[in-house]
Symmetry: C2
Subunit: 350 residues, 2 copies
DNA sequence: CTGAAAGCGCTTACAG
DNA sequence: CTGAAAGCGCTTACAG
């Protein structure tokens, strides 16, 4: 026996709600009611419909439904870079929340490219998503405006400058960096360095400010020779740490703006035969999955990405129901202590 | 001035192809032709239409188009676990290829759960995806059958047993493991261990077989005391390495079935004060992004996930056009040499 | 409790 | 080169 169809793209058999209706001897309206669990269908009738659906292996056509209802149950999720290990956990959490509500997620990434960002937003509008979560580090306001014009609710991540205009899952850095400082002080460190990110980036600036405030509240201050700037990647962390190590009285502990730079710092220490944590303590930020795989396992300030996802999702849900986007609680990172921090060695102290 | 709308969910203004047609003084058919770049529209007319589109900020409704055309330009992508660092690069590559063709990707993950797998497939069928890439380690044949019944082309990853029934991006492990062995032999190793994955997993079994064949082709054989089995995660790699280290004549080099276990092996070596690569060489498999972050940077057999994605995507494209799924070239991993391999130390050799 | 019919916003033969 | 009209597969007032 052959396959029964040789013509390409030819629909041999077409299953739709009408076929089901015929088989169950009812109208399409009734089939629709049964599918959607609407009340007011006699038990016996709905049984018959369900049987017909099962026998015919019928699956509703979501396009038709969406067209009719004006809602797609589709959310857009835009991230900057899926290869950045910051994002998978966020995507995971968001997708799981959506799936639990029967909502599908269209996923795109901008690769930090403003043009791609515009495209992403436009593609999502064309697909009639019900809402968009923009979980990128940078944002194009014009593109957001497009979504708003099209009536698509949006939520942003940590875009302080736009907090007035768009709902926004903000991160409150103060507690996390304070915890990191307290931990180091308790261990006996007083020479504490900081590896910052590019100060053109709002989030990098805010992390540095948070650490500065923490120092200040303990009567300490940031010292230029113990501060370095990196590119938020491994390589930049390594270079920054090299700089701090070459200082004539180098710090005994270093806090970094993210884990990738902490990993770079770790590599620089290894290369310079500075033992971590014996001769140098390091604290990262983010708590990427890699953090616990490093040797030594990295102490770090955990930014709870599942919470970010949950806030974003809840915010969008409410925007769809209630019109205006809801206010959202800022997310608070906390210190996770592992093995990259220890009391300072008894050596060259000032 | 107020916002102009206070009623929730009330469409103040509805933009569709008819509005554009009116504004440009043409029929909807002509607007459609212009949008889709169809020939046979006078320059002057299409200019007018384009202007109207721009002025009205019109965006076509993809649901309506899909319903009419019977194609959604939507692909499904199912992976097992986005938190597994194996996947981001694969997802990235797949999504980029799709975006270049104006195809959107709906993304779901099964979390290794057969029930969720069924759900994922069903959700994609309901969304009328044009094709599905099933990039999971395990697969439910019944669910695949559903897709086939619904006329949705599918491609699988490395499911050798189903290679006859479904198009399949296979991995040919032989070359990679042979390269790893040759590298270690050239360094002077002869006591070479292997950390395998659970032998219930087809891919784990095949990796072990590939290494065994490599040994055999060099007149060597696998020795039980130098072979351990782990769970494909960091923890399992650590336990397996502990076992190998406690052997009375432990191997001077170890090849593992994946990078996560190699990282575990590295941790075990650190804990036992065995220096890598000085006293122990380690080679992983996969080349995850973490591999190069480790200290020492991990030598590993790279499985090119961008190629897997490309093959899968091409296969689906062809299935949509040409009916039957196309044959696909197996993907070949290759050795990447970093710093976790070195000549064996001059000590207890047999 | 059930059905006939309109309409969601497109595309595409068909006619001119 | 352009338009009138049918139809994709649903849902939902409306009527009975």
């Amino acid at each position: 026996m052959g396959l029964g169809y040789t013509l390409v793209n030819q629909r041999v058999y077409h299953m739709d709600i009408l076929q089901v209706a015929k088989r169950a001897n009812v109208s399409t309206a009734t089939v629709s009611r049964v599918i959607n669990g609407l009340p007011g269908v006699r038990e016996k009738t709905s049984d018959r419909v369900r049987r017909a659906i099962a026998e015919l292996n019928y699956v509703p056509n979501t396009n038709a439904r969406s067209l009719r209802m004006g809602r797609t149950r589709l959310f857009g999720l835009i991230v900057s870079d899926i290869n950045n290990p910051f994002f998978p956990e966020l995507i995971d959490a968001f997708e799981s929340l959506a799936a639990a509500q029967g909502i599908e997620v269209i996923f795109t990434h901008t690769n930090y490219d403003p043009i791609r960002f515009h495209n992403c937003v436009r593609r999502m509008i064309e697909r009639n998503v019900d809402a968009i979560a923009v979980m990128t580090s940078e944002v194009e306001e014009e593109a957001l405006q497009q979504a708003t014009t099209a009536g698509v609710p949006i939520v942003l991540m940590n875009q302080r400058e736009l907090a007035g205009k768009y709902p926004n899952v903000l991160v409150d850095y103060s507690v996390g960096f304070r915890e990191a400082l307290v931990h180091l002080l308790a261990l006996g460190h007083s020479n504490i360095g900081f590896i910052a990110g590019p100060q053109t980036l709002d989030s990098a600036r805010r992390r540095k400010d948070a650490f500065k405030s923490a120092l200040k509240s303990h009567g300490l201050r940031m010292r230029a020779e113990w501060t370095a700037i990196g590119d938020m990647k491994v390589e930049g962390g390594r270079a920054a740490m090299d700089k701090l190590l070459s200082c004539n009285s180098s710090p005994t502990a270093v806090v970094t703006s993210n884990d990738l730079m902490a990993i770079g710092a770790l590599q620089a220490a290894h290369a310079a035969h500075v033992s971590v944590p014996k001769n140098l303590s390091i604290i990262g930020f983010d708590d990427l999955p890699v953090a616990s795989m490093m040797h030594p396992a990295l102490s770090t300030i955990r930014l709870p990405r599942n919470l970010v996802a949950a806030q974003a999702f809840a915010c969008l849900q409410q925007a769809i129901l209630g019109g205006e986007g809801a206010a959202v609680e800022p997310v608070q990172p906390h210190l996770v202590i592992r093995n990259s921090t220890a009391p300072p060695a008894n050596r060259k102290r000032r």
